[in-house]
């Protein structure tokens, strides 16, 4: 009852005309940032922090939170229409979303993504209100061994997503991990793989890598053909609803995506990319036609988009209750909170109850605003992408350059983005999947830190991973995923061998 009272007070603050205006501006700016390839929520939110300096803290955070989840949805638009994910969480949406767009079903893909995002976001916010305390207590039980085992679950799912070649996916996962080790070692502070370059001591930031792999790499692949002939989207985006026979599949996918995203959002150290990748893998596993994934199946868009938004809202729970950011974008929000004199953590609920509940209430409102804005405005957003590709390329590159540079005001990051663009182009040509590398690049530092902290805690005893119940369960899940994927890959490899032998 007390929670309900707090929430009502929060709504009273969030529904004030000014806060409503800032939530709407945030949603529009966020979607624009998401639509512009190369500017993901992390870069976009960071980029726009300065414009909130003169606002009061509640309005500032409401606006930044709206930018954050607006960008999540905006990233979907470019993933579906141009095959360029705005950020890592949208990578998986490209697989079926872009395939749907090529079949002329971009509207249905964007529609189900908006509906799934709305349901996922709203349920997660409801869950935030009802279950924040007990669930955050559970998340508190996660020590380094549990984090390590959880990340292993995520990585084993990368193999489940491997597609044609398990070896290529594995190698790309390892390459991403090695990239993540560049810079100062998180435990002992020793420099690694820096080659005497000062800028490398800060590590390789994932935003230039994502922009390079998926933005510039894609542009280079497209540049092989005459750029005027590359279409952005297929025709007018219309009919936002799925086909009648797809409703049941979509609802089940949205249901699974909501709960998965919500649960992962509670666990600090995970990120929205894990939520979208895991939900995609789960849909593939439970599907009666897993072989069709990647060719434009609607649940391949519905599930990850729902999980992604559900995660985005639920990820605020560990931030508000424990002061632990779950993802880079949430970390940027945390920075904005601190800049506004609000220290995230358990005391935030007691010392700044009005603020916290106003932000929570604004999440509901923001989800409604996004749904109202995005479905009717998709064609307007699409107009930005209907500009001839040879002109659009120049502007995409400009935004990539600004995005990479503004992260740290460093030309080095621009160079890193170009290098990764060239790498991405080569890997695409050789049919090496890029998504595993991105996932491991993001998870690498946390994985290494968890492993080494676990072993320090257990005084070098590896059995610590098996004697802790949560860690053990997660390791068993990892083993099941790994064995199942390897087993499924084996016969196809054998078939491939025999086919090739006949050539």
């Amino acid at each position: 009852m007390e929670t309900f009272q707090h929430l009502m007070n929060g709504f009273a603050v969030a529904l004030s005309p000014l806060n409503l205006l800032f939530a709407t501006i945030g949603c529009i700016l966020g979607t624009l940032i998401g639509v512009l390839p190369g500017l993901g929520p992390a870069a976009g939110t960071a980029l726009l922090i300065p414009i909130t300096f003169k606002l009061d803290p509640t309005a500032a955070i409401i606006m930044l939170a709206a930018i954050y989840y607006g960008a999540m949805y905006g990233g979907t638009i470019t993933s579906v229409l141009v095959n360029v994910p705005g950020e890592a969480a949208s990578v998986v949406t490209c697989l079926d979303g872009y395939a749907m767009a090529k079949q002329g079903r971009a509207g249905a893909a964007l529609g189900i993504a908006a509906i799934g995002s709305f349901i996922g976001g709203t349920v997660a916010t409801l869950g935030l209100v009802v279950m924040a305390l007990p669930l955050s207590r559970f998340a508190l039980k996660f020590g380094p061994p549990e984090y390590f085992s959880l990340i292993l679950v995520g990585l084993s799912l990368v193999m489940a997503l491997a597609g044609k070649s398990l070896t290529k996916a594995l190698v790309m996962g390892v390459v991403g991990l090695i990239f993540s080790f560049v810079g100062i070692d998180p435990i002992e502070g020793a420099p690694r793989f820096d080659f005497g370059i000062t800028s490398l001591l800060d590590g390789i930031r994932f935003v230039p890598v994502v922009m390079g792999f998926f933005g510039i790499g894609e542009i280079l692949v497209n540049a092989e053909q005459s750029l005027g002939n590359v279409m952005v989207g297929e025709g007018k985006v219309s009919s936002f609803l799925p086909r009648r026979d797809e409703y049941r599949i979509c609802l089940s996918a949205i249901n699974r995506g909501t709960w998965l995203g919500f649960f992962l959002g509670l666990i600090p150290g995970t990120n929205s990319a894990v939520a979208s990748f895991m939900s995609y893998a789960i849909e593939k596993k439970v599907s009666k036609h897993p072989e069709k994934f990647g060719t434009g199946v609607i649940e391949g868009v519905a599930a990850p988009e729902t999980a992604n938004n559900s995660y985005a809202n639920a990820a605020l729970i560990p931030l508000f209750t424990l002061g632990i950011p779950g993802s880079p974008t949430v970390a940027i929000l945390m920075g904005a909170l601190i800049m506004n004199g609000l220290i995230p953590g358990p005391l935030l609920f007691s010392e700044h109850a009005t603020f916290v509940w106003a932000v929570i209430a604004s999440l509901y409102i923001g989800n409604v605003i996004l749904l109202i804005l995005n479905l009717p405005l998709v064609n307007w957003w699409v107009k930005i992408l209907k500009i001839p590709y040879n002109i659009l390329v120049v502007f995409i590159l400009i935004f990539c350059i600004i995005g990479a540079y503004s992260l740290n005001n460093s030309v080095f990051d621009v160079g890193m983005m170009i290098f990764c663009g060239l790498l991405g182009y080569v890997f695409k040509k050789l049919d090496f999947p890029l998504a595993p590398a991105i996932l491991t690049l993001i998870l690498g530092p946390q994985m290494e830190r968890s492993l080494r902290e676990s072993l320090s805690m257990s005084q070098g005893d590896y059995s610590t991973f098996f004697t802790r119940p949560i860690s053990l369960v997660l390791l068993i899940i990892t083993a099941i995923i790994f064995i199942t994927s390897a087993w499924q890959a084996l016969p196809s490899a054998v078939r491939e061998e025999s086919k090739e032998a006949q050539v």
Partner: protein
């Protein structure tokens, strides 16, 4: 056989062998670099070089297996694997322009560097009419600089401070 570039003897198995060999060398390099760092930490458990060392071993192992699999195989290249001459020129123009930006961004400043970048790419990739090229160049350089500076994004000013 071969791509649009018309390389009659090219085979996918050769391309695969070269790419896996490059990855093998990368793995060897990672192992070498990891051995320069501490394998064990100061307390219990692994040090900074532990994880990367074993990942290097994994890359070398997987690459060796894949190189072994390509031996004695003759798999034709997929059509259009190598871009044609015009495609190579377009890719070179894009990469050249991007690399030039890295070197020109700070000395010339954002607006001037991006003006040259836009002008070059719009003429080489798009063959736009001159009036449109000029409008788009101004929008892409001074226009974006104005908007992003309005959003308080720091962009290099360069010699002219613009």
């Amino acid at each position: 056989m071969g791509g649009a570039g018309g390389r009659p003897t090219a085979e996918m198995s050769i391309v695969d062998r070269v790419s896996w060999s490059a990855l093998l060398l990368f793995g060897v390099f990672v192992i070498y670099e990891s051995l320069q760092i501490k394998y064990y930490g100061s307390d219990f458990g692994p040090g900074p070089g532990f994880f990367s060392f074993w990942l290097g071993i994994l890359v070398v192992g997987l690459s060796a297996v894949e190189i072994g699999r390509t031996v004695g195989k003759r798999v034709p290249l997929p059509a259009g694997f190598f871009p044609d001459r015009a495609g190579v020129v377009r890719i070179a123009c894009l990469l050249g322009a991007l690399i030039a930006v890295v070197f020109l961004l700070e000395p010339l400043g954002y607006s001037l560097a991006m003006a040259l970048f836009c002008l070059f790419l719009l003429r080489t990739l798009g063959k736009q009419p001159w009036w449109l090229t000029v409008v788009l160049t101004l929008a892409g350089s001074f226009g974006t600089a104005y908007i992003f500076r309005l959003l308080q994004v720091i962009l290099p000013g360069g010699i002219l401070g613009i």
